[in-house]
């Protein structure tokens, strides 16, 4: 494969990582909390996509919508079930974190119980057809994934930069007390963040699904990469996450193409360690130090 082809593949894959990682980034940015069940949201959304095609004979496009809605609903559930009650009790920082690890294990095992250990195929009619652009090849599926992912990222940017609720979300992430003094209902913004962030995990599940085998642990691999991306991008920074996600996609593709697939994780986590050593704040540092 040519260099250009590898970069293109990497960009497509990276755009998906960006979608999943942005969900984590938004939640971290606003709450300074990590949702470890994010991976399982992706997994359940992918299963929902599979079921809506296999059982309900829905089209692929509708199944992606279903996956996104499932993600969003899980976001609502974890905010009301875990994060909000723990916030009200003003517990320590670690408790919600540990609770989401519990939710993650619970959801994986529920999926195992319900869907069984056998991998399922997420059918998409666009996997076989290919677009040719001169020397470059791209399956329809990947083209769709890329277009939808880029559209979602652009929509998120417009939302955050140009709309009042988006601005309120950034305000909460920079200084939540000051945001409440502006008349912003911080609780509602947090809920909105969970809905958007988790919908992105669901969308990621729907888009990525056809390129994977769907099983209860399918989220785990992707989420580890997503965490790496979030850290490389500068914890909680949206621009940094986009750059880091695309970078990770391209590194993975180049290493797989020129060296060996098994080495790609090594390369990515090498970059992660390097980032932590050289620029511990990530590519773009935009978090507020505690103002006293």
């Amino acid at each position: 494969m040519t260099l250009l082809q590898l970069v293109l593949n990497g960009l497509v894959q990276g755009s998906l990582y960006v979608i999943v990682a942005l969900g984590l980034t938004l939640i971290f940015g606003v709450l300074v909390k990590i949702n470890f069940a994010h991976a399982e949201f992706l997994m359940l959304a992918a299963f929902a996509g599979v079921v809506s095609i296999d059982t309900f004979n829905l089209s692929y496009g509708v199944s992606v919508l279903v996956a996104t809605l499932v993600g969003a609903s899980l976001g609502v559930a974890i905010e009301f079930g875990i994060f909000r009650p723990l916030r009200k009790r003003r517990t320590d920082e670690l408790r919600p974190l540990v609770a989401t690890v519990g939710v993650s294990i619970l959801l994986q095992n529920l999926a195992l119980l319900y869907f069984g250990p056998n991998p399922r195929q997420y059918q998409s009619p666009y996997m076989q057809k290919t677009i040719e652009l001169g020397e470059l090849y791209l399956s329809y599926q990947r083209a769709i994934v890329f277009v939808v992912a880029v559209a979602a990222i652009c929509a998120l940017f417009v939302f955050l930069r140009r709309t009042a609720p988006g601005r309120a979300m950034r305000a909460v992430s920079q200084d939540s007390d000051a945001a409440s003094l502006m008349g912003i209902n911080v609780s509602r913004i947090v809920l909105m963040t969970f809905v958007i962030g988790s919908a992105l995990a669901g969308l990621g599940g729907g888009l990525l699904g056809p390129m994977l085998v769907i099983e209860p642990t399918v989220g785990a691999n992707i989420i580890v990469l997503s965490f790496a991306i979030v850290v490389i991008g500068g914890f909680g920074n949206v621009n940094g996450t986009v750059i880091a996600g695309l970078l990770v996609g391209i590194i993975e593709s180049l290493v797989t193409g020129y060296l060996e697939a098994g080495l790609s994780s090594l390369a990515i986590f090498g970059v992660l360690l390097l980032t932590l050593a050289v620029r511990p704040t990530g590519l773009i540092a935009e978090r507020v130090e505690q103002n006293v």
């Binding site: 009042a164 601005r167 309120a168 950034r170 305000a171 920079q174 200084d175 007390d177 000051a178 945001a179 409440s180 003094l181 502006m182 008349g183 912003i184 209902n185 911080v186 935009e286 507020v288 103002n291 006293v292």
Partner: protein
């Protein structure tokens, strides 16, 4: 004159540590009232409770006839109560313009209306107009304080509360901030402010309350307080610290 804000027997605590006890004071429509006292007297704690950032342990807070004792901060803003917090708390990674837009968040106004409200504030603060597109975190302390005040006026409050508006600022800027406070008052907004610098405070305010170790120990018109021995003590207390 009618009461705009009243605190009756308010007790405030961080965890089990009681910081303010039995705080009672009021602010009438159109007044400029100051809370003075030395470091650690409980002024900022009291202001946090007025804005709703700190829950009230006991006692009652009413604003414009409404009991707001357990009302969350964002709803108090919608009633017309605005706080310029200690340390300014501008949104550092947003432009001056965006900070001002957030100040008017409660109106859910159209982009056009919002832009004209921002333009109005920028007109009043030429120093901010020059930096309108700069990130608030890059402004000087004085500019940030003006932004924080301008942002608070964006919600068109009935009562604007300022917590230590002069903190960390040079004398020229402090004079400017106090002239802004006078201007806000002249335009019909009621003002409550906390100040360590008792001289400045009593020159600007109509009335004042003196806080010491979490209690109101004196109150009166600015003229009366200027000659009060306890005020001189509180003021001296600040110098010693």
């Amino acid at each position: 004159m009618t009461r705009l804000l009243t605190l009756e027997g308010v007790t405030l605590a961080y965890g089990n540590v009681v910081v303010c006890e039995d705080i009672t004071f009021h602010v009438d429509h159109g007044e400029v009232v100051t809370l003075i006292g030395s470091n650690g007297a409980g002024k900022t704690t009291t202001m946090s409770a007025v804005a709703g950032l700190l829950p009230t342990r006991s006692g009652r807070i009413t604003f414009d006839g409404v009991d707001i004792t357990s009302m969350p901060p964002h709803l108090r803003v919608r009633l017309g109560l605005s706080l310029v917090p200690e340390g300014r708390h501008v949104f550092p990674f947003m432009s001056v313009r965006e900070n001002l837009l957030l100040g008017g968040f409660r109106f859910k106004s159209s982009p056009k209306e919002a832009a004209s409200a921002v333009a109005e504030v920028l007109d009043r603060f030429p120093a901010l107009a020059r930096r309108a597109n700069a990130n608030a975190g890059t402004l000087s302390g004085g500019e940030q304080q003006m932004l924080a005040v301008g942002r608070a006026t964006m919600s068109r409050p009935k009562l604007i509360c300022l917590d230590e508006p002069s903190m960390g600022l040079g004398p020229l800027i402090v004079a400017e901030i106090f002239s802004i406070i006078n201007e806000i008052s002249a335009q019909g907004t009621t003002v409550l402010f906390v100040e360590q610098n008792a001289q400045y405070a009593l020159r600007t305010a109509h009335r004042g309350y003196v806080l010491q170790t979490g209690r109101v120990i004196a109150s009166g018109t600015s003229e009366e307080l200027r000659h009060d021995q306890r005020v001189k003590d509180a003021y001296l207390g600040k110098v010693r610290a």
